[in-house]
């Protein structure tokens, strides 16, 4: 059996090169891969292209990587009022930013994961989100063309994993994590606990192991 278990978060992100695109799970403080983010901070990879719902809260979450100036481009739906380093770097032009409606952000990931290249959606029609996008009327409704969003890596957080990579989540910490797992070439998951193969009820598995490449056990990790 292929070993997907890595001994540490640092080992799991050791090959993150400069210029890599990375999806980061999490929403509202729940389900963030804090240990993987910190490990990328320690590794110091630069010019990262980050895809995330928001852009950190002060020195926590993605704030770690913005503070280190490791991110040069970001796609997000809600950067957030506490994303201070992001805000500063957007203003100075150091960071390039694309705003995407939240539901479209995850739907573009879902398309990537499902092998769909693009889709038409009514969200953003007539707004600045539609700039530069093909528009057409589908079944009588104005729609714009949205493309699939694929990344080199997804860094996600789950509750439990077995060594195959089957994942369960805890409550509302699920959020973006399952869809990101499907939309990256390499999915790295930090979990509270790794349990033996066969101990997760197959009925409760949310992310099947095929979507998971690397697993790190980090315990009950929280933000700063």
């Amino acid at each position: 059996m292929k070993n997907k278990i890595y001994p540490s978060a640092d080992a799991a992100v050791a090959d993150i090169k400069d210029g890599t695109s990375v999806m980061f799970g999490g929403f509202g403080g729940a389900g963030f891969p804090h240990e993987l983010i910190r490990a990328v901070g320690r590794k110091g990879s630069r010019n990262l292209f980050a895809i995330s719902n928001n852009c950190g809260t002060n020195d926590s979450e993605l704030g770690v990587l913005f503070k280190n100036k490791q991110i040069h481009k970001v796609i997000a739906a809600f950067p957030g009022p506490q994303s201070i380093y992001f805000q500063q770097q957007v203003e100075t032009g150091e960071v390039e930013f694309e705003l995407v409606p939240q539901g479209i952000l995850c739907e573009r990931m879902r398309a990537a994961g499902a092998g769909i290249s693009a889709f038409y959606s009514p969200v953003g029609v007539g707004t600045e989100v539609a700039y530069g996008k093909e528009e057409r009327v589908v079944y009588g409704r104005r729609c714009i063309l949205e493309s699939a969003l694929l990344a080199d890596y997804a860094f996600i957080r789950a509750h439990r994993a077995d060594p195959l990579g089957n994942l369960t989540y805890r409550k509302a910490a699920r959020n973006f994590n399952p869809v990101m797992a499907t939309a990256a070439k390499i999915t790295v998951v930090e979990v509270q606990e790794i349990v033996p193969v066969g101990s997760l009820d197959p009925e409760t598995i949310v992310t099947p192991s095929v979507f998971v490449d690397r697993i790190v056990e980090v315990g009950k990790s929280r933000g700063n």
Partner: protein, 232 residues
């Protein structure tokens, strides 16, 4: 011109809560909408949706009893009620965009006469904030209510002929509940349904750019919570 007898944010929420039918699946946005859950009348059961992946969301968690894996869209630790479900962001927005929710309530910066909504960015503001789920919610809502103050802090009406702020979605708003009035967006224009107690239809019109349709009878907004706004 300042109008006395404006409602408070809590009173706007109280009035908006009366728009929610028993058994409805409802999403509440940031700001005044978020206050509505506290004013749902007894006997009315609402199933609240949170766009990060909860149906059956309950009140805020008590201090010391928070589970930080259960938060609402504003990051606040909340509780869940019996019958709640957790799901992914994809499923959460299938519910909003796919038209599966009965009512959504969002805050507003501007609403136009044909129901266009601008609610995520003030022109010239820095990059803080963002769209979040508002565009998906506005586009997919079967019944979208906007709650907001009628006039912004610069004294400008927020109910306009054409939105000048960055848009959230076109022709999506069905009802506007403000500190002065309840207004329905009809194909023929904006119709004044109710006024705040002590406010006249003429005063509402003076604070509204498009011409309002005035039905013969325009009752007072039924408000039971006491404190009226203290304003000049």
């Amino acid at each position: 011109m300042a109008i006395k007898n404006r409602l408070t944010r809590e009173q706007i929420a109280e009035r908006a809560a009366l728009e929610l039918p028993d058994g409805a699946y409802v999403n509440l946005g940031w700001g005044i909408p978020n206050l509505i859950a506290g004013y749902v009348p007894k006997g009315v059961d609402i199933i609240f949706h949170s766009e990060n992946g909860i149906l059956g969301m309950g009140p805020r968690a008590k201090e010391g009893e928070e589970d930080f894996d259960i938060v609402d869209a504003m990051k606040a630790p909340v509780t869940v009620l019996p019958g709640a479900a957790f799901f992914s962001q994809v499923d959460a927005h299938m519910m909003t965009r796919g038209g599966h929710l009965d009512v959504s309530v969002l805050g507003g910066l501007q609403v136009s006469e044909r129901g266009d909504l601008a609610n995520w960015k003030v022109p010239g503001a820095n990059s803080s904030g963002g769209i979040g789920g508002a565009m998906d919610i506005a586009v997919g809502s079967r019944h979208l209510i906007v709650t907001m103050e009628h006039v912004n802090k610069f004294g400008e009406t927020k109910i306009v002929k054409i939105c000048t702020y960055p848009l959230t979605a076109l022709q999506c708003v069905k009802t506007i509940v403000t500190d002065l009035a309840v207004i329905d967006v009809l194909p023929e224009g904006l119709c004044l349904r109710e006024v705040a107690p002590g406010v006249t239809p003429e005063e509402v019109q003076s604070m509204t750019e498009p011409k309002l349709i005035l039905p013969r009878r325009i009752p007072d907004m039924p408000i039971s919570s006491r404190r009226l706004a203290q304003n000049s």
